[in-house]
């Protein structure tokens, strides 16, 4: 059951990325290019997602077990620290460089774009570097 739900949720998430245009790096970069011809679409994607999300998470946040009886694992850390901001800046730099973030990259890979394969391989390598660094004491437990 968990597997079917996970697959279905990934599918709906991916369809949302395609419908919204966010699977397309050129459209994401059109949002990030404030000084060029600016495409505000990404802001509305976030607004739509957050509006639906806020209603749903308000319900989810009050539960101790999920509808399928699994423990709720929603992060409770609300603190802002240096590592969060530095990580965000590094991620944003990579995002702006190619127009890919993790979800759209997997969708583009599924659509058969080889460039997405290069990006995803490098991204997994980056994650592995972080993981390896963690074994020498530099890592930490992530929220998600």
């Amino acid at each position: 059951m968990q597997l079917i739900v996970s697959f279905a949720v990934g599918l709906v998430f991916g369809l949302g990325l395609i419908v919204s245009g966010m699977a397309n790096p050129a459209k994401v970069l059109g949002f990030l290019d404030l000084a060029g011809g600016w495409d505000p679409s990404l802001a509305l994607v976030m607004a739509g997602a957050i509006a639906v999300g806020a209603a749903g998470f308000a319900v989810a946040g009050r539960r101790t077990l999920s509808w399928l009886g699994l423990p709720m694992r929603l992060p409770s850390n609300r603190n802002v620290d240096r590592r969060l901001v530095v990580g965000g800046l590094l991620f944003g730099a990579g995002w702006g460089l190619a127009g890919f973030c993790p979800g759209p990259a997997v969708v583009a890979l599924g659509a058969g774009y080889w460039q997405a394969g290069v990006f995803v391989a490098a991204m997994l390598a980056g994650m592995a570097v972080h993981e390896a660094a963690g074994r020498f004491g530099a890592g930490h437990k992530s929220d998600f």
Binding site: Q2, S6, A8, V9, G10, L11, V12, L15, I18, S20, A23, N24, P25, A26, L32, D33, L34, D39, S41, L42, L44, V45, M46, G48, A49, I50, A51, V52, G53, F57, V59, S66, L68, R73, L74, R78, V80, R83, G87, G88, L89, F91, G94, W95, L97, A98, F100, P102, G103, A105, V107, A111, V120, A122, L124, A125, G126, M127, E131, S142
Partner: protein
């Protein structure tokens, strides 16, 4: 600032965003988890016992989306201008940055903001600011 009205697709953006929000909410309500894609992918590298299956299934669903979409309508073409060196540098930065910063556009930008988390707001402001800055440098300074 000049809005590019030809590229701006407000209704598709809102509809697609609502689908993304729906997926995130379904994940939380049914499985009690946050649909944070960088975290889901990272957990595949060295999964704990019983943690690999749902991650593979979720990733498979994402990757299957273009095929399922193409059954209903013509899949819009994607435009990827970055060359191989930029793709590799971008991937490394996204991989390290999302782990160091505990999340990406989905975990912080959608789920975290929808839960009014100050932590996710700070992360979102940071990655947006860096994205704006890098694109400005690439397109208007070093172009």
């Amino acid at each position: 600032m000049r809005i590019d009205w030809l590229q701006f697709t407000p209704w598709a953006a809102l509809a697609g965003g609502a689908l993304i929000g729906l997926a995130a909410v379904a994940f939380a309500l049914l499985l009690g988890r946050i649909a944070g894609i960088s975290g889901i992918l990272a957990g595949l590298l060295r999964p704990d016992k019983g943690e690999a299956g749902w991650r593979v299934a979720f990733t498979g669903g994402l990757a299957a989306a273009p095929f399922v979409y193409s059954l209903m309508s013509a899949l819009p073409a994607l435009r990827i201008d970055a060359g191989v060196p930029a793709l590799i540098a971008a991937g490394l930065l996204v991989g390290i940055g999302t782990r160091y910063g505990s999340g990406c556009t989905s975990g912080h930008g959608v789920c975290g903001l929808a839960r009014f988390s100050p932590r996710s707001l700070a992360a979102t402001l940071a990655f947006m600011a860096a994205g704006f800055a890098i694109v400005f440098l690439m397109r208007h300074v070093f172009s």
